[in-house]
Structure formats: C-alpha cells, structure tokens
C-alpha cells in the first residue's frame, strides 16, 4: 500500500534484471495521458521505508493513436462473414431520404396547382398599387407658386466711362 502506486509486481528474481509490463488502459483512469514513475524495490528495503518517487524514472503513459486499419480480429470476423456495416446503411439512407422528399414535394405541388391563387402578388396587382405623382406645377400645393423664368431675372450692364 505505497501511496500513489497503482501497480506492484510480485517479487521477482533480481538476477533477471528486467521485467515486462503490458500497459493496461484502466491505469489511465479515463485520461489521455498520465505521468508516472517506475521504480524498483529491493527485498532488503521494507515497504514502509521505500519511497517509489525517490529513485525512479519519470515517463508518460498514453492512450496512443488509433490507426484506421483493419485489425486481425476485424479481418477474422470478415472472413467469417460477419461485418459491421451500419455506417454503410446510414451513409446510403440520408441521400435516399432527401431524394424521396423532393419527389413527394414535386407531386404535391403538381396536383395542388389548380388550387393555388397568387393573383394578389402578381405584377398586375402590384401595378394597380403604383401611383404616378405627375408634374410639380400641377400639384395642388405648388399651383400658386410663381416660378420666374431665367430670362426675367435682373441683369446688370457694364458702366460707361462717363458715369
């Protein structure tokens, strides 16, 4: 029960000088990576006196990348005629449903065409609403306004030298 220790091997023969460890996914505790320390406890040091963090090697334990390639197990299943092709049905069903919906809409519009009335939004209807203002001089508001012609405006001649 050494603190922070999540794996302890059984007592091994020191003469071997090595130990193979297979990394278990559960050790990551749901995380992608964990920093760990590897240490070796000799039998002449009791558990209470041994601190794994004192003399060890720091390293990382990672989930690793997934290669999208058929594994041996998947290939074996394929050989047995078992394949997981759910994605294939999903990929095919989406465009099929869209095409089916478009066809339905087409026939719906085609058969209901005679019941449709868009006369209130046609060009003729919009034209009726259009109002022509006409000339400004004929407008009631500006009818009495005298608008002099440009020729009637006062002009100034050049003065003679006698003046």
């Amino acid at each position: 029960d050494i603190p922070a220790t999540f794996f302890s091997s059984e007592w091994l023969k020191n003469v071997d000088g090595m130990y193979g460890i297979e990394i278990d996914g559960d050790w990551l505790q749901g995380q992608y990576e964990r920093k760990i320390v590897v240490s070796v406890q000799p039998s002449n040091i009791p558990d209470e006196e041994f601190n794994p963090l004192e003399n060890g090697v720091l390293l990382y334990m990672i989930q690793g990348s997934k290669v999208s390639k058929y594994s041996k197990e998947e290939l074996a299943l394929q050989d047995a005629g078992i394949s997981n092709d759910k994605w294939y049905y999903v990929a095919l069903s989406i465009p099929t449903m869209v095409i089916f919906a478009l066809v339905c809409i087409y026939f719906f519009l085609h058969y209901n065409g005679k019941y449709r009335d868009f006369s209130d939004v046609t060009q003729a209807a919009l034209g009726k609403r259009h109002r022509v203002l006409g000339e400004v001089s004929k407008m009631k508001k500006f009818r009495k306004m005298k608008n002099h012609k440009y020729s009637e405006l006062p002009s100034y001649n050049e003065k003679s030298s006698k003046q």
């Binding site: 220790t5 090595m18 193979g20 590897v38 070796v40 050989d79 005629g81």
Partner: protein, 208 residues
C-alpha cells in the same frame, strides 16, 4: 442469402510450438525448462544443438520495447555482435601465491605475489535471457539539467511514452542492489508504477 465463409484455422507447425525441455544444471541436477513468450521475445528457449555465432539477439529501444538485432558478417568482422558485459557481472578477488607455489626466478623467496582474479557469475539462468542486460555503461542522464544518473535503470528512458496495450521492459543493473554489509546481491526485487502529479505548466507539453 449468402454462403457462410468458415474462418480459417490458424496453421501451427510442430516446430513453432514452445515445448518444455530438459537440461542438466550443476553437473547432476535435472531441470525442466518451460519457454515463455513476452512481447514476441522467447525466454528460456532451448538452445540450438550447434551454436550459431550469428544468432539474433534482442536489444531494447529507449522506451523499453524490444528490438531484434541480427548480427552480420562483413569483411571478416561481425557487425552488431552479441553484447559483451566486460567485468560488470564478475566478482573480483585477490589470490595470493607464495614463492613455493610459483617458483618464479625473479621472485624473492619471502615475498608473496598477489593477483586480481575475476570470477564469472553463475550463468545457469542468465543464459536463458535473450535480451541485452543492463550495465552501468548503458545508464543515461536524467533530470531537467541532464545531470543525474539513471542508475540502476537502463530502460525506460526519462520522458518516453508508454502506449496502452503494448509491452515494455524495465531493465536495471542487478549488481546495483548489493547489501552494504554482506556485499551480496539482493535476491528479490519488486517493480512499482506510481502516479505523479503533473504541474499545470507541464500538462500536455511533453513531446509526443
């Protein structure tokens, strides 16, 4: 309906099967050895009847994953030969010889000659391990300033990554665990893996 495809049965020849084998140790003692396979490496395999000097051996990568090395013969020399361990696994002792034993012509009759002798280790079980052994010359430097020796470890190296589902070998120098008083090498050891709390600044910044 479609025809059922029957999965192919794994073909296994008799030569591939790992069968226990019998050997005689310490001249008279019979022992049954059972080979085991860890991460593709066969331990305690029966040695070939005729030893092959170019027989492959297993090295370890920095993370401790095994790597098979095939020695080659090039220009009369062996490239990537089996590792030599110098005197790391030998015991040094001093043997004294008197004049009567040696009868050396240049030795004083009252003098004693001392010779350093290296006694080889017991290779009964060590020889069954095909993986390179850890020696102090294979230590690496660790720590943020690369100034701390990794003793007693050779693999894995610091800040390497262990991927889930793979097998890695932790290797250490066996003679590191010597009893201070008796000088005897410790018989048993235990490997521990412990979580380390990472600093917020360290999270997600290590080389992947």
């Amino acid at each position: 309906a479609r025809e059922v495809i029957r999965p192919k049965a794994d073909k296994e020849t008799t030569s591939e099967e790992l069968k226990p084998w019998l050997r005689t140790i310490y001249s008279t003692k019979a022992e049954i050895v059972t080979p085991t396979v860890i991460a593709g490496v066969t331990f305690s395999a029966k040695p070939a009847a005729t030893p092959d000097p170019l027989e492959p051996w297993v090295s370890l990568n920095k993370d401790g994953s095994p790597k098979t090395i095939k020695p080659e013969l090039k220009n009369g020399r062996t490239k990537n030969p089996h590792p030599e361990y110098s005197t790391y696994f030998q015991t040094a002792s001093v043997r004294t010889f008197s004049y009567e034993e040696l009868k050396a012509h240049n030795m004083d009759p009252n003098d004693v000659y001392e010779e350093e002798v290296f006694i080889d280790e017991d290779k009964t079980y060590v020889s069954l391990n095909p993986i390179i052994r850890c020696t102090p010359e294979r230590y690496f430097m660790k720590g943020s300033a690369n100034d701390i020796s990794s003793q007693p470890f050779c693999t894995p190296r610091e800040n390497t990554s262990w991927k889930v589902g793979k097998t890695y070998f932790v290797s250490w120098f066996t003679r590191f665990f010597e009893d201070e008083f008796s000088g005897e090498v410790v018989e048993n050891v235990r490997v521990h893996l412990s979580y380390v709390k990472e600093k917020a600044s360290e999270k997600g910044f290590h080389k992947r």
